[in-house]
């Protein structure tokens, strides 16, 4: 029964090995494995839906001595998002990388990244989390450098250095935790941590490491070059999934493990950084000369919103209002995952068709690539937060929580951030709809454009409609000590 926890990790791991040994079968191996991961993720969500939190003690040793894998509502929905987004990006990648040699480099790394993301989401042990963080980091860096241009290598090198620094800070936090409490298991830690200096220092070090990895302002500087210079399918995964799992860990540590040591002042500080990220990221996105750079800065801004939820969650007492806010932050993360990967894939299509992605020169795109232009518009709706996207509902809850807790200061931030997002989205669309010298016959669709369309539709329509179910699911299958959050 609990064995199903290992499949989302082992399937892509084994497929990665096969993709290296049989380099010419990469597309087939990668496709089958991504599909199998999706099935195992759906199965996992279904099982969590039926049973609540599920766990397995690997090696049969009790957690503490051994390592446990665990899945609750939060980790299983994120796992499902990773599986869907990865499968869709994988389909696009078979078209994007038209050179078989580059595809042979892509697949083993890509499948390994998928295994790493799933391993991170399911891990129940803080040292094991460090290993998964490193695995995610190294595969992401190697994938980001696949383009091979000078800019890509420089960005990858910086991404690697900064990422390693973040992991080291995280590991230093793990040392302090093990020194104080003698265990590495997260559930065991949650029941023994006390509100005292050792805990504060550990929490500070781990959070610092994760903030670097989730690119919260002012530690965001590595993200735009890394995400803008990677090949489009990789950029999509970096923005939609890789930074997202670092945020997931912040959420997990703060809400489930260090609950007793969580002081409103700390949450406020992260909220303030999030607010600056929203404004700064949106502003830079508005000024970005290239579509992929715009998408990357927009990621900085959207991650800022996620951090805005922390002071609200810290300020709300357990109850329906807090559950609503918690559901909203997850919905926001999911919607951004789908919308941003759609935007990057659309940018990839435009870049390959036009030979560039300079926003000023997008004229004629709407006529030449109507489907991709529609994708830009749909993902734009989700980034701004217009109905019926998931972001709309999430922002609504964010504002409601701000009113409820009296933290009025976040309201103008959300308002200005949304206006700026509207401005950068319409700037792109304005240029795309402008007349241009593209010939109108380049109607593509198929494996090139449909993956992005599917992702954009999930972000704008499906998540908006399915949000109610999400809230119920998260509430039912929560891992925190008190049951519901």
């Amino acid at each position: 029964m609990t064995d199903l926890l290992v499949w989302p990790i082992l399937l892509p791991l084994l497929a990665s090995l096969l993709a290296l040994v049989f380099p010419r079968r990469g597309d087939w191996i990668g496709g089958m494995a991504s599909l199998a991961v999706l099935i195992s993720a759906a199965w996992l969500v279904h099982s969590v839906w039926d049973n609540g939190v599920i766990a397995v003690a690997l090696g049969g040793w009790q957690p503490g001595l051994g390592i446990a894998l665990r899945a609750d509502g939060l980790s299983s929905v994120l796992l499902l998002m990773v599986a869907i987004v990865a499968l869709t990006i994988g389909i696009y990648a078979t078209r994007y990388f038209d050179n078989a040699v580059v595809r042979a480099r892509f697949w083993p790394l890509w499948l390994l990244l998928l295994a790493a993301l799933n391993a991170l989401l399911l891990s129940g042990d803080v040292f094991n989390l460090y290993v998964t963080l490193e695995l995610v980091g190294l595969t992401a860096v190697a994938l980001g450098a696949l383009g091979g241009s000078r800019d890509a290598i420089v960005a990858a090198l910086r991404y690697l250095t900064i990422g390693l620094l973040g992991s080291m800070a995280f590991l230093a936090g793990v040392v302090v935790l093990y020194a104080a409490y003698g265990t590495l298991d997260m559930v065991a830690l949650a029941s023994v941590v006390e509100d005292r200096p050792a805990t504060w220092v550990a929490l500070m070090l781990m959070t610092l490491g994760l903030l670097v990895k989730s690119a919260l302002f002012p530690m965001h500087f590595w993200l735009p070059p890394a995400h803008a210079n990677a090949p489009a399918p990789v950029s999509a995964a970096l923005s939609a999934l890789v930074v997202k799992v670092a945020f997931y860990l912040v959420l997990r540590l703060w809400l489930d493990v260090f609950t007793v040591a969580l002081h409103p002042a700390t949450a406020w500080m992260l909220g303030l950084l999030g607010a600056v990220a929203v404004l700064w990221g949106s502003y830079r996105a508005l000024r970005a000369p290239r579509l992929k750079l715009l998408a990357a800065y927009s990621t900085v801004a959207q991650l800022g919103y996620l951090f805005l939820f922390l002071p609200l969650l810290a300020g709300l007492p357990d109850g329906p209002a807090r559950e609503a806010a918690f559901g909203a932050v997850v919905l926001f993360a999911l919607t951004h995952g789908f919308a941003k990967s759609a935007l990057f894939l659309g940018a990839g299509v435009i870049q390959q068709r036009a030979g560039h992605d300079r926003i000023e020169e997008l004229g004629g795109t709407a006529r030449a690539l109507p489907v991709t232009t529609f994708v830009l518009a749909l993902s734009g709706i989700a980034l701004i937060g217009l109905p019926p996207s998931g972001t709309f509902l999430a922002k609504w809850q964010l504002l409601a929580a701000a009113v409820e807790t009296g933290q009025w200061v976040w309201i103008p931030v959300v308002a200005v951030g949304s206006l700026l997002a509207g401005a950068y989205v319409f700037r792109v669309l304005g240029h795309a709809f402008a007349p241009g010298d593209r010939d109108g016959s380049a109607l593509a669709a198929g494996r090139e454009e449909l993956p992005a369309l599917a992702l954009a539709l999930v972000a704008t329509v499906v998540l908006g409609l399915a949000a109610g179910g999400l809230w119920g699911f998260l509430d039912f299958a929560a891992m925190s000590p008190g049951g519901a959050r």
């Binding site: 040292f127 290993v131 490193e134 980091g137 190294l138 860096v141 190697a142 450098a145 091979g148 000078r150 290598i153 420089v154 990858a156 090198l157 690697l160 250095t161 390693l164 620094l165 080291m168 800070a169 590991l171 230093a172 040392v175 093990y178 020194a179």
Partner: protein
């Protein structure tokens, strides 16, 4: 607390901080990679200090295993970083 614990514990903290500072202040890739390795060595030293329980006692093997894992992870990351740095130099030379 044992004197040994305090002495090597403080040394570990120093290595960690020195390495961190080095990464932030250096500009060349190779120097940063060196500093990262020093930073890691500091954390590993802290783990081993935790494991040490005095002359007459068997040490806790768990931190030793964690550090072994950490050393291998560090060398892997170093290898990737050096390969990227070399590629960059090649591009600049062409």
């Amino acid at each position: 607390m044992l004197a040994t614990t305090i002495i090597y514990g403080f040394a570990g903290i120093c290595l960690f901080v020195l390495g961190l500072r080095g990464v932030l202040l250096h500009t060349t890739a190779l120097a940063r990679i060196l500093a990262l390795n020093v930073c890691g060595a500091g954390v590993f030293l802290l783990f081993v200090v935790l494991a040490y329980r005095g002359a007459g006692m068997t040490p806790d093997p768990v931190p030793h295993a964690l550090v072994l894992t950490g050393i291998v992870v560090a060398v892997s990351a170093t290898a990737l970083a050096l390969a990227l740095a070399r590629r960059l130099r090649e591009i600049d030379h062409d």
